[in-house]
């Protein structure tokens, strides 16, 4: 029986800037079950990173519910308990800047051990060695600094750092976007291996839908701060309902005829992605939607469930006009 480990309901995160209110996350609701991988897909301005960082505690949420293992976590990390900090970890996007270039790998991996004091001082080198072995990196990397090693290896260190405190939930924010395909394959396989071996739950963020197809158990697609569609992976790809999903899927470059046939009919995208400061009225996607109707420019649709476990937010489906 799968237990829900993370629950978000109508989560909002607004930023107040000189240019106006940025509605980065505007009413996001989802649940993640234990040992599952929820994929969060979206382009710039979609709010996927904001959601991840709010769950992580980098910002406090503006409103809405957010609970982890049935405990409220709407606070930022400053106010969170140490056990919570150990339990939720994050792997950042850019391996170039997620590791301090002026510190050695050993110091980087030792920090979480130091802060949480999970391991007594004399055993720390041992634990670091085990972490390095876990990500299949040579032990003498301990004395190197991030600029001396490649991007893929740096990301492995970031993963090792996240695993150092034995978390149960790991957020992966575009962990392989900056890496080559062959390196990405190694990292993704390692992540899958670790998930099975350490019973982890993942929130996986990426803009690469092909990657998502192979990594996530459920996929949620976001646009300008709201979730447009959320469904189990195979259902999501087999039967994409939202026009934005179809647009995205039809734009991805693939490497085989077989895959081409799986893509929905080509929808040419037009127009720029609006900024989250300037959200269009009604449905935020209507300006670029090839199937927009009159109602779309007036009323923002609500989430409906046209088929089992498959939710969509679009006026094309009955019930969204509430």
């Amino acid at each position: 029986m799968e237990r829900t480990i993370l629950r978000a309901h109508n989560l909002k995160k607004y930023f107040h800037t000189k240019r106006g209110v940025v509605r980065a996350a505007d009413g996001v609701s989802f649940t993640i079950n234990e040992q599952e991988t929820l994929g969060l897909v979206g382009e710039s301005g979609s709010g996927k990173s904001t959601v991840a960082y709010t769950v992580m505690g980098l910002y406090p949420s503006t409103s809405g519910e957010l609970s982890f293992k049935d405990r409220d976590i709407t606070d930022s990390t400053k106010k969170r308990s140490k056990t919570l900090k150990q339990d939720i970890q994050i792997v950042f996007q850019d391996p170039g800047s997620s590791l301090n270039p002026r510190r050695t790998i050993r110091q980087i991996l030792e920090l979480p051990l130091q802060v949480h004091n999970t391991v007594p001082k004399k055993e720390r080198v041992d634990r670091i060695t085990k972490l390095l072995e876990m990500v299949e990196l040579p032990v003498d990397f301990m004395y190197k600094s991030p600029p001396a090693i490649g991007g893929g290896e740096r990301q492995m260190i970031a993963i090792a750092r996240a695993m150092a405190t034995n978390p149960s939930f790991v957020i992966l924010d575009e962990p392989t976007s900056a890496l080559d395909v062959s390196v990405q394959a190694k990292i993704i396989n390692k992540l899958i291996e670790l998930q099975k071996g350490l019973n982890l739950t993942y929130m996986f963020i990426t803009h690469d839908l092909s990657l998502m197809r192979n990594m996530a158990s459920r996929v949620a697609i976001m646009y300008l701060g709201k979730i447009c569609e959320i469904a189990p992976t195979s259902e999501f790809f087999r039967n994409p309902l939202h026009p934005y999903t179809q647009m995205l899927l039809s734009s991805i470059p693939v490497v085989s005829e077989q895959e081409e046939s799986l893509k929905p009919k080509k929808i040419v995208s037009t127009g720029e992605i609006p900024s989250p400061v300037d959200v269009p009225p009604g449905c935020s996607f209507h300006l670029r939607c090839p199937r927009r109707m009159e109602i779309c420019s007036r009323i923002d649709p609500v989430m409906v469930t046209p088929s089992k476990n498959h939710q969509v937010r679009c006026h094309l489906f009955p019930g969204a006009q509430k």
Partner: protein, 325 residues
């Protein structure tokens, strides 16, 4: 039969650094005819940008050194051209779209300044007046489907989105009416839908002006959709080349095969294991075939001799002893 526009033969380029000499390009062969769209695919560190910069002769000469080889463009060797001839090439013949957008556009000048400077210099011999240059600039922006061209001329790069900036770089590159366009990862930093738009646009413009293009990228999917012929590069060597459709149907070189397998597929069959090992250390590159330490099908000869190109069908060549026929 169309004339050969660019012909690179046995190019060897290296860099002098602390600790020795990095032998990056180890005998690069590349050619294309007018009007072709050729892809150059390879991962980080394989030497694709070095090759591109060699074609444009913009490598910083120490520490870079070209030890061997020729780059024939329209029948003349770029490597032996004078400074004036090179400048002429830059203004009228070859243009480049760079990978790093923030580096390509100067943040302290307006778009108008930069675009008009590019147009002015590329049309030096025609001597255009300021008004003509400005008209041409607006026309270029309209060609890349940027709305409100007049206003954009007054904007600074930082005020525009990534997609718009990339389109401006394309406008700048195409406004000079060059014969050859080298596009180095032109869409890496863009969102998928914008990437699609930009490439579609680029494709249309190239078609219209009959510009030959080299598309450099690490994305196999992009190459499959946008090019007619492909070169696969690894560690400073072109390991395989073929017509695009043929390459994807029938990849021969173990590296190409490994790369294709590592790409996540929409079919959801899981992700292959990737390729063992790391890219070679250019200070001490492996002897023989540079891919041999990582090759699942390496043989004894691969460690000793550098493989030549073997013909494997119509325009399909690969540098691998497995195909010694």
């Amino acid at each position: 039969m169309k004339k050969k526009l660019l012909d690179i033969q046995n190019l060897e380029v290296g860099f002098t650094v602390y600790g020795g000499y990095l032998r990056v390009l180890n005998g690069v062969y590349f050619d294309m005819v007018e009007g072709e769209k050729v892809g150059l695919v390879g991962e980080t560190g394989c030497g694709k940008t070095t090759t591109a910069k060699s074609i444009l002769k913009i490598l910083p000469v120490p520490p870079a050194r070209t030890t061997c080889g020729t780059i024939f463009f329209k029948g003349k060797n770029i490597l032996t051209m004078s400074k004036n001839e090179i400048r002429n090439i830059h203004s009228h013949e070859i243009s480049m779209i760079f990978q790093d957008l923030t580096a390509a556009l100067n943040p302290v000048f307006t778009i108008g300044d930069q675009l008009m400077t590019a147009i002015k210099y590329s049309n030096f011999r025609y001597g255009m007046s300021k008004r003509e240059v400005r008209k041409k600039a607006i026309q270029a922006l309209k060609e890349v489907q940027l709305p409100d061209a007049e206003r954009i001329l007054e904007n600074y790069p930082v005020q525009l989105s990534g997609g718009m900036r990339q389109r401006i770089c394309i406008a700048m590159a195409l406004a000079t009416r060059s014969t050859l366009l080298v596009a180095d990862e032109p869409t890496t930093s863009l969102d998928v839908t914008i990437q699609d738009q930009v490439l579609r646009l680029l494709g249309a413009l190239i078609q219209e002006k009959d510009t030959s293009t080299i598309l450099i990228t690490h994305s196999l999917g992009l190459v499959r959709e946008w090019t007619q012929r492909v070169y696969v590069m690894y560690a400073g060597v072109m390991v395989e080349t073929a017509n695009t459709a043929e390459l994807f149907k029938n990849p021969l070189h173990p590296y190409t095969k490994g790369l294709m397998a590592a790409v996540p597929k929409l079919t959801g069959e899981g992700i292959a294991a990737g390729i063992e090992g790391r890219i070679p250390d250019y200070l001490h590159p492996p002897s023989g075939c540079r891919f041999n330490p990582r090759c699942p099908e390496a043989m004894d000869i691969c460690k000793k001799e550098k493989p030549p190109y073997f013909d494997c069908g119509d325009s399909h060549k690969t540098a691998c002893f497995l195909y010694r026929d």
